[in-house]
Symmetry: C2
Amino acid sequence: MHFISEQRLDDSVLERKFTLGKIPGILWTPASASGGAPVPLILLGHPPLGLHKMYPRLLARARHAAADGFATATIELPGSGDRPRWPAAEQARADLRRAMEAGEPVSDEIIDALILPLVEKAVPEWQAALDDLLKLPEIGGPVGYSGGVISIGVRLARVDPRIVAAGLFAGSFVPRTMYEEARHVTIPLHVLLQWDDEGNDRQAALNLFDAFGSKEKSLHANMGRHTGVPQYAGDSAAQFFTRHLK
Amino acid sequence: MHFISEQRLDDSVLERKFTLGKIPGILWTPASASGGAPVPLILLGHPPLGLHKMYPRLLARARHAAADGFATATIELPGSGDRPRWPAAEQARADLRRAMEAGEPVSDEIIDALILPLVEKAVPEWQAALDDLLKLPEIGGPVGYSGGVISIGVRLARVDPRIVAAGLFAGSFVPRTMYEEARHVTIPLHVLLQWDDEGNDRQAALNLFDAFGSKEKSLHANMGRHTGVPQYAGDSAAQFFTRHLK
């Protein structure tokens, strides 16, 4: 991990851009963290739209978390932003677009082709980022994962014991095999569901929530479409991380 | 409304027992409320097990609300505690017990017989209590309704414009006609659902949540059985009332 820029925002948050091999990433730490006790870390997931496009929303989440005493970090997803595409993913995206424009249901085959390779590629990258982030003196633990492609969160929660709590957003397509993976997830979960999400099958989201093996899991359903998560729902997710990471 | 006893608890809450005609009730006000500005009111619903049996849980909710600056009040339900039973309700309870002991599904006829007369009798009584409570100088508004038999909450929210927000507990049987009533409820709602509630049909609860006409409604599902609502779920309900009644 190499830091390539450093910027103090409002005297309250330190933003550092980095590269991990060829993967761009961003680390935000509360300004109070440097020199003080190491702080817990939340990995900020995001949809595969590119870090540049997602930056304003990621920064807002990072500021909120910093005010609560958390460091946050994110990396570019494979095939997003300036990272190279691969043909199968481009094909799956084209198939998805075609199905949605035709008003057809999105088949399990399209969902598998779209999501499973993304999970396979992304999860080891997030783990490598975590290896390096946890070596920084200002970052302690424990570690949480928040948002983004829910299947990446499910896989990370299943395979990486360093992640002790996850806030998931039931707002993307879920491959069939993920329900079985979800049974093996046992960490505390806080799951957001937008009841009227245009790109989401509500029943699939409820089934996934039901499948999780976690003893502590909460589903928070709010009205509105995909990007309409109300402010108070974000506050309640923040309280979840404060309960589990402090 | 006649006050029949008055007791200061821990210097922070004033508890006054009252009768409304022949109906017993309890009013809790923050100790700071007497002499100060009038405070908002939350009506505390409860299951039909009698005020005496429910007192410890009601008091805990009242203390929490008082700490947030709210007055709370509750009245005995028709047919509960020392109030007279009526034969049809006794018959419906016996039918319910028989069906549950036999492991049979509880029929719509039993649910209607059990709940609809209770709603018809109870709602005007809560409204009469509200008439008198709002005349007290220490009680201002707005008014919220919280918990208890969900159909009583639905009916109150539909018919009484003084109630501006409701926290409902999806933990009791719902007559078929309530789904239609729910469409006419438009105030902000905070709905708790215990995912593994033994006495509750999860799909029925999700259908009722979907039916509500409110633009702002949140569903909070937590693991556990009927009485296992976690502490943090109670905190989040309290924040809901603070957002809407202050």
